[in-house]
């Protein structure tokens, strides 16, 4: 069995956004658009499926916000396993880029 499969763009950006701190779905979506210069958008169906699958994998977890004005708001938080998965994906992407050097 393969150690890790390439991640879909949506998974990758969701993890990347959460690496900077817990966030809600809408925040992730906005940050993704900003980071990718509008190239990557995450629609609601994609977001629900991706976050659900990553919670099952144990990469992210759901927490309730206790910030004033955002009480009871659902937030996603990166787990250690999620951070590790993101790191592995970044390493994979970096290797691919390195391999492309000199082409």
């Amino acid at each position: 069995m393969k150690k890790s499969e390439p991640m879909s763009e949506s998974y990758y950006y969701i993890l990347l956004c959460l690496a900077k701190g817990a966030n809600h779905g809408y925040g992730i979506m906005q940050m993704t658009e900003r980071l990718s210069g509008g190239d990557v958008t995450i629609g609601s169906g994609t977001m629900y499926g991706a976050t659900g699958n990553m919670m099952k994998k144990g990469w992210i977890r759901e927490i309730m916000s206790d910030e004033p004005g955002l009480e009871r708001r659902r937030l996603y938080q990166l787990t250690d396993a999620g951070r590790e998965a993101l790191r592995a994906e970044i390493a994979r992407l970096r290797r691919m880029l390195d391999n492309a050097e000199g082409v």
């Binding site: 879909s8 763009e9 949506s10 809600h24 779905g25 809408y26 979506m29 990557v40 958008t41 995450i42 629609g43 609601s44 169906g45 994609t46 977001m47 629900y48 499926g49 991706a50 976050t51 659900g52 759901e62 659902r74």
Partner: protein, 301 residues
């Protein structure tokens, strides 16, 4: 002023969901806003002052609160869910927004996941129906009759339609908006009902009986003893199981309403299973002539 409602009974096949979305968007443009989507029956409310874009999702929801919230965050209003796993959403249409703002699946993976959720379920059902069709076909070839033919055709058609849908749903480049597919779905549901009803009615209407109660040894000779009067409601193949024994040769017949034998056997012993009688509609009975004691058992179905 009271609200004005309209019902629609148009059905869509699962693999044609894009067509349903297009129809809902067009209805919204014309002032009819879907307020309850359904498999066979949808309700629209008249409101010419707004315009929505609709989307459909197919999945089993493990957390409804999280699900609705994820959509609401991006401006989607949850309309309703249908028992079979489809969920309706709508978003107020703003012409300044790019079309992309009205997509709920924004990568190939999640789109394929949704299509596969339906396709894998339908594949299981389609294969099961296909196996039923195969078993029915074997039975039909061995003992052809009308109920078996109806059953085979029903299973074969349902399985064929479903597996074709699976093929469309699993093919990433196939169109999910097909003209005329609604007719096929209407036929699909009509055939389920007609096939099941037809099979049950045809089976119930057929004579089914056995006269094994007289299987005990009878010692007196009989001459043209007639019994087991039965009606054949429609021309078809009917099947006779026989088990008769006597000391002296006997004659067993199936007689029609005019007393004409449509089937005759003479001898001291006859056994046969599933003897095919091709009977026109009418009344029939059994007849036995025997000069000695005998035992008998006859089944007809």
């Amino acid at each position: 002023m009271g609200k004005q409602y309209k019902r629609s009974f148009k059905v869509y096949s699962a693999w044609n969901y894009q067509r349903e979305i297009e129809d809902l968007n067009r209805a919204s443009e014309q002032g009819w806003q879907l307020v309850r989507g359904g498999c066979f029956h949808s309700v629209f409310e008249k409101n010419p002052n707004v315009q929505y874009r609709y989307q459909l999702d197919y999945r089993r929801i493990d957390n409804m609160g999280r699900y609705i919230e994820t959509f609401r965050e991006q401006g989607w209003e949850y309309v309703n869910s249908v028992f079979n796993g489809w969920h309706y959403f709508r978003k107020l249409y703003d012409p300044t927004q790019p079309e992309q703002a009205y997509e709920i699946f924004t990568d190939r993976e999640s789109m394929a996941e949704m299509n596969n959720r339906w396709a894998n379920l339908a594949l299981g059902i389609g294969i099961a129906l296909g196996l039923f069709a195969l078993v029915s076909l074997v039975q039909l070839i061995r003992m052809p009759n009308l109920p078996r033919l109806v059953r085979f055709l029903t299973f074969a058609l349902e399985s064929g339609v479903l597996l074709r849908g699976v093929g469309i749903m699993k093919n990433p480049s196939a169109s999910r908006s097909r003209k005329g597919d609604s007719t096929l779905v209407a036929v699909f549901f009509a055939v389920i009902l007609l096939g099941a009803a037809g099979y049950v009615l045809l089976t119930l209407a057929r004579p089914h009986f056995n006269t094994a109660q007289s299987a005990a040894e009878i010692t007196e000779p009989v001459a043209d003893n007639r019994w087991a009067y039965f009606e054949v409601p429609y021309p078809d193949n009917y099947y006779l199981d026989l088990d008769m024994r006597a000391e002296l040769p006997m004659t067993f017949s199936v007689l029609d309403a005019d007393g004409q034998a449509v089937y005759t056997q003479t001898g001291t012993e006859f056994t046969g299973s599933n003897v095919r009688l091709r009977l026109p509609k009418g009344s029939y009975c059994f007849s036995l002539t025997c000069d000695s004691g005998f035992s008998l058992s006859c089944d007809l179905d």
